[in-house]
């Protein structure tokens, strides 16, 4: 499982409230996608391309569970996320919906906004094609890798249910 694209870099401690604002959390997914992270970087939702990589600092996705927040990020078509660290509930929610997330302490120090990154989620290796420097992220447990390949928890549960029959 790999992704390659532009690095969109965000800071530390970004709460789900700032991915999808509470007044938008009950709207349509299309509306949430168009406004995702709007107050931190309005260009992101407008210019993001399929396969781009969202990079963020410590404790990304803190605050409310708000499972629509990672869904709105996924709806932009990003190839995945690489963060210094993720909040626990946000981490779970990404795998649950099949959105690849790599924790790599030091990532924000090693890349700049606009760099081209190639990420291999299986090996955990992130290559910065501008500086030609590679970083090693934390390994994703095998069963979570299976969940990602299946497209998330629900498709995986559906597949397991079919196999049982």
């Amino acid at each position: 499982m790999k992704a390659r694209g532009r690095c969109w870099k965000f800071g530390d401690n970004i709460p789900t409230d700032q991915m999808v604002r509470s007044d938008r959390a009950i709207g349509s997914m299309d509306d949430m996608r168009k406004h995702v992270l709007e107050n931190l970087n309005p260009a992101f939702a407008r210019d993001v391309q399929p396969g781009d990589i969202l990079v963020a600092g410590r404790h990304f996705g803190q605050s409310s569970g708000r499972a629509v927040a990672p869904k709105a990020l996924q709806a932009t078509g990003i190839g995945g996320l690489v963060v210094d660290s993720a909040a626990r509930l946000f981490y779970r929610n990404c795998y649950e919906i099949g959105l690849p997330l790599l924790q790599c302490p030091g990532i924000t120090a090693g890349v700049d906004d606009g760099d081209i990154l190639a990420v291999d989620f299986e090996s955990g290796i992130i290559t910065n094609e501008r500086s030609n420097v590679s970083l090693q992220g934390e390994a994703i447990p095998p069963f979570l890798m299976d969940m990602l390949r299946a497209g998330g928890l629900i498709p995986m549960a559906g597949r397991l249910a079919e196999e049982e029959q």
């Binding site: 499972a67 909040a87 629900i154 559906g158």
Partner: protein
């Protein structure tokens, strides 16, 4: 080497002899709570193409956010939940009148020591007040657990927080937690189980234990825990739970903790979390005098009956400052009823408070939002920008007595200026 609370509890929930921090297990929750996201769980179940639930008695649904509905869409979502509960034999269904899920489920006696509980709300750590491992998950995970009965869990590392008491006058569990959050920072306990010990916690009311465990989420905790004791057992009896209906879990005295934190309760003063993060904590003297437009006494953190009593002790015979809005949202219908019966509600109304129906209310941006440039002092648990209306408004967090004192003065105020000290004490 002994075991922590989390290691013992997940061993029980996973049917394993022992577990150790870092291990991943399939754990069976005793209770699966969903609130405003319940309709999403139901829609996800439809996608899964099955209707077979592992155990409807383990499912609880509470319509606490956006209640009563203010849009046809929300009304439709709530209707779906109501009908699903009726057709699938879900007896623990609480409608828009009940209040905040966490408080309602505890009051109704559904939460018992030794349980594993998952919920669609991040503040599900609150159940630790009764010696329960509670934690938040996403709605698809709730759906999958409705069907399979289990979910994956990593056994967390544990942090021991030792609080020595008693606290001084005008200082509460909220202040203890804000102090801790300021010291540990917002990710200081990410993925950890936070155990509360020490003389302050022994004999502490369940209401204050709920405040401790609720706010443990704001240091990133997975679980929070207060060891059950006689206070817990008596509280549960009042909720209709017999002493033989649960099995308490205690950590071993030689359990391994990744960190131990000590808080000296006696020297603690009222604390305030300043905009825009919960870990931006200052002592009351550093922020006193800051003008506010609105005061909110509500949320699962601090709108329990005891919280309203404390606020009323300052509001009695006083009035909210001109131009300031005081919004009080009782955590549950039971809290509201007790406040009416005891006369606390009259004190609040006489002071000029606007009292809303029980539920999450303004904490979840549901009514009580702010205009550009406004400031709210709130008893809730989060102050991120845009959480209560305008992105250009500010939220301060503090205890119910700080909130009451602030409502009276119209600026952030020290509650100790209002509290008559007991005979013989030194100010």
């Amino acid at each position: 080497m002994g075991s922590t609370f989390a290691e013992k509890l997940l061993a029980r929930a996973a049917g394993e002899g022992v577990t150790q921090a870092g291990q991943i297990v399939d754990a069976y929750p005793n209770l699966i709570m969903s609130h405003a996201a319940s309709w999403r769980c139901i829609r996800t179940l439809e996608k899964l193409g099955t209707d077979k639930l592992f155990d409807p008695d383990r499912i609880a649904m509470v319509m606490d956010h956006n209640s009563p509905a203010y849009s046809a869409k929300t009304a439709g979502d709530q209707k779906l939940c109501r009908e699903f509960a009726a057709s699938h034999g879900i007896k623990k269904f609480y409608d828009v009148d009940a209040g905040i899920a966490h408080v309602v489920l505890i009051e109704e006696g559904h939460v018992r020591p030794g349980m594993l509980l998952i919920g669609t709300d991040s503040h599900s750590t609150i159940y630790g007040a009764l010696g329960v491992a509670g934690t938040g998950v996403g709605f698809s995970e709730v759906t999958a657990t409705w069907v399979c009965g289990y979910l994956w869990m990593m056994v967390p590392e544990s942090i021991k927080v030792v609080i020595e008491g008693p606290l001084s006058h005008g200082v509460y569990a909220k202040d203890v937690m804000l102090k801790l959050i300021g010291e540990l920072t917002a990710d200081g306990a990410t993925y950890c189980s936070v155990e509360f010990h020490g003389s302050y916690v022994e004999g502490l009311s369940v209401s204050e234990r709920m405040t401790l465990c609720n706010l443990a989420m704001e240091v990133g905790a997975k679980f929070a825990y207060v060891p059950p004791d006689e206070v817990t057992r008596e509280y549960l009896e009042r909720c209709g739970v017999a002493r033989d209906a649960y099995e308490e879990i205690f950590p071993d005295s030689d359990a391994r903790y990744v960190r131990e934190v000590h808080i000296d309760g006696e020297t603690l003063v009222p604390q305030v979390a300043c905009p825009d993060t919960v870990d931006n904590v200052k002592s009351i003297e550093d922020v006193a005098g800051t003008p506010v437009n609105q005061v909110f006494i509500g949320s699962c953190t601090n709108a329990k009956y005891e919280d309203l009593v404390e606020a009323a002790s300052i509001l009695r015979g006083r009035h909210v400052a001109p131009g300031v809005r005081l919004i009080v949202t009782p955590a549950s219908k039971q809290v509201l009823r007790r406040a009416i019966d005891s006369g606390v509600m009259s004190v609040l109304l006489d002071s000029g408070a606007l009292v809303t129906n029980p539920g999450c209310g303004a904490c979840a941006g549901d009514g009580g939002v702010m205009a550009d440039g406004e400031v709210t002092l709130s008893t809730a648990n989060r102050n991120f920008r845009g959480r209560m209306g305008s992105y250009d408004s500010e939220i301060y967090l503090a205890s119910p007595v700080v909130a009451a004192a602030t409502a009276v003065r119209g600026v952030i105020a020290d509650p100790r200026d209002f509290i008559a000290l007991p005979e013989g004490s030194i100010a």
